[in-house]
């Protein structure tokens, strides 16, 4: 129990002193996960919209697949990306293994299904509501898709947030493709794993507290924005 008190004290000292090593780790964590979320949204939102609005054979299968992929185990994703990017792999020539780019790819693969599946559900509900009115007005498909995305934007923000939460907290994928190299690919979760195995529980807990604080404040910020915006723009 002594570790906890020590950990909080250490975490506090680290944050207050703006320890450059700690800042580097935090910034890299945020850079990797935010980029992964942006990529996942660029792929997942159009995919979710297409499945929500489209009627095509095998649609139910696609929905089941997307929902199932939400539970992808990070280590397996890490392994697959590792095989893809390793020197012997098909993309080995790109020399991306053990770089932040590889970590971004792994996290994007991990959370794209989350963004696609959750946005599909939200957009399909809204589409069920709008569809007949849009049909009556002869709204073209692309305009309808744009209107759905725009009108559901606050709910979709929560989807992106769920993706960010998953990305910033996972360790299995980034440790395999990133390698936890100091000053290069070390992020908060891999650092925590390392410090724990080294026995430096205080530092590990300190980093954990920072990680939790970041996750909570990002969530709180987005929820506040959503609540405020909801009050003004839609009911």
């Amino acid at each position: 129990m002594q570790d906890f008190g020590e950990a909080f004290a250490l975490a506090f000292r680290l944050v207050i002193s703006a320890d450059p090593d700690l800042l580097e780790i935090i910034l890299l964590s945020l850079k990797v996960s935010v980029t992964a979320v942006v990529i996942a949204c660029l792929i997942g939102l159009p995919l979710g919209t297409a499945v929500a609005m489209g009627r095509f054979p095998g649609r139910t299968g696609v929905i089941i697949l997307l929902n199932a992929l939400m539970g992808l185990p990070p280590v397996v994703v890490g392994l697959l990306i590792y095989l893809l990017l390793s020197n012997a792999g098909p993309l080995g020539w790109m020399r991306l293994l053990y770089t932040p780019t590889a970590m971004i790819i792994a996290q994007a693969v991990l959370i794209t299904p989350i963004v696609a599946a959750l946005s599909r559900e939200i957009l399909e509900q809204l589409n069920n509501e709008y569809a007949e009115q849009f049909h009556s007005l002869s709204v073209p498909g692309t305009t309808a898709a744009g209107a759905l995305l725009w009108d559901a934007r606050y709910s979709l923000l929560t989807v992106a947030l769920a993706g960010f939460g998953r990305a910033v907290a996972e360790v299995g994928a980034v440790i395999i493709v990133g390698g936890n190299i100091d000053h290069l690919t070390r992020v908060m979760t891999t650092a925590i794993a390392l410090e724990t195995s080294k026995g430096d529980l205080a530092l590990a807990l300190g980093l954990g507290i920072v990680l939790i604080t970041i996750a909570l404040s990002v969530n709180a910020a987005v929820m506040t924005l959503r609540l405020t915006a909801t009050r003004y723009a839609y009911a």
Binding site: Y130, E132, Q133, S136, L137, S138, V139, D151, A233, Y234
Partner: protein, 253 residues
Amino acid sequence: MPDAIAIGTRCAWPRAIRDGDCLGETRGLVYQAGDSRLIDGIDLMIPRGSITVMMGPNGAGKSLLLRLLHGLLTPTAGQVLWSGRPLDAGLRQQQAMVFQRPVLLRRSVAANIRFVLKLRGRPDPTRVDEILSEVGLDAHAKQPARLLSGGEQQRLNLARALASDPRVLFLDEPTANLDPASTAAIEAIVKRAHSSGTKIIFVTHDLGQARRLADDVVFLDSGRLAEQSSAQTFFNNPLSQAARDYLDGRLVL
């Protein structure tokens, strides 16, 4: 630009309706869901220029017929013709529909109107204000549409339908959930649209409303056309037993 719907074709009128040009018609219209024929062989003539009120007991097929006429549903058999032509994209853009429950975009009142104007290629900001003041909603322009009262929401819904300058306006029990004042407001807007040349096809259960609005009445019963008469004939001396029973308030089983 496709031909306007107003270019009519001559057609034979059912005996109770005055001779005139026919704006739309259905021929042997059938709509089937599973084994049941919900619309069962309807031959309907839709007169030009009038307010046509569609009545009938619950489940008679009024809303279905309205959706078939507007092209929201594809008939199992038979045809829907406007100006002698099957519905196409151009004709459909000259029609608009007001549903019983208003489906408003999760945006401001003005943005709901703007959406339709933009859709029809006329994004004129002054026009938004004009349309809103015509239905008495100009003071609410910036409010979220979904925070309006039920009556205001339906007025906005109607205003949005009229913003596309339709030649034909379908209304599916637009005042079923509204109080008398809101109902009167809706009826006034509909009458104004009619007097500026829009063909109105109005489904209602409210006999008083039907008497106030109808030039001619289409009466459906169990998916069939029971009667199509001028309003005077329909209310004073209905031709079909089904309509007589309905007007007498007798239960039709």
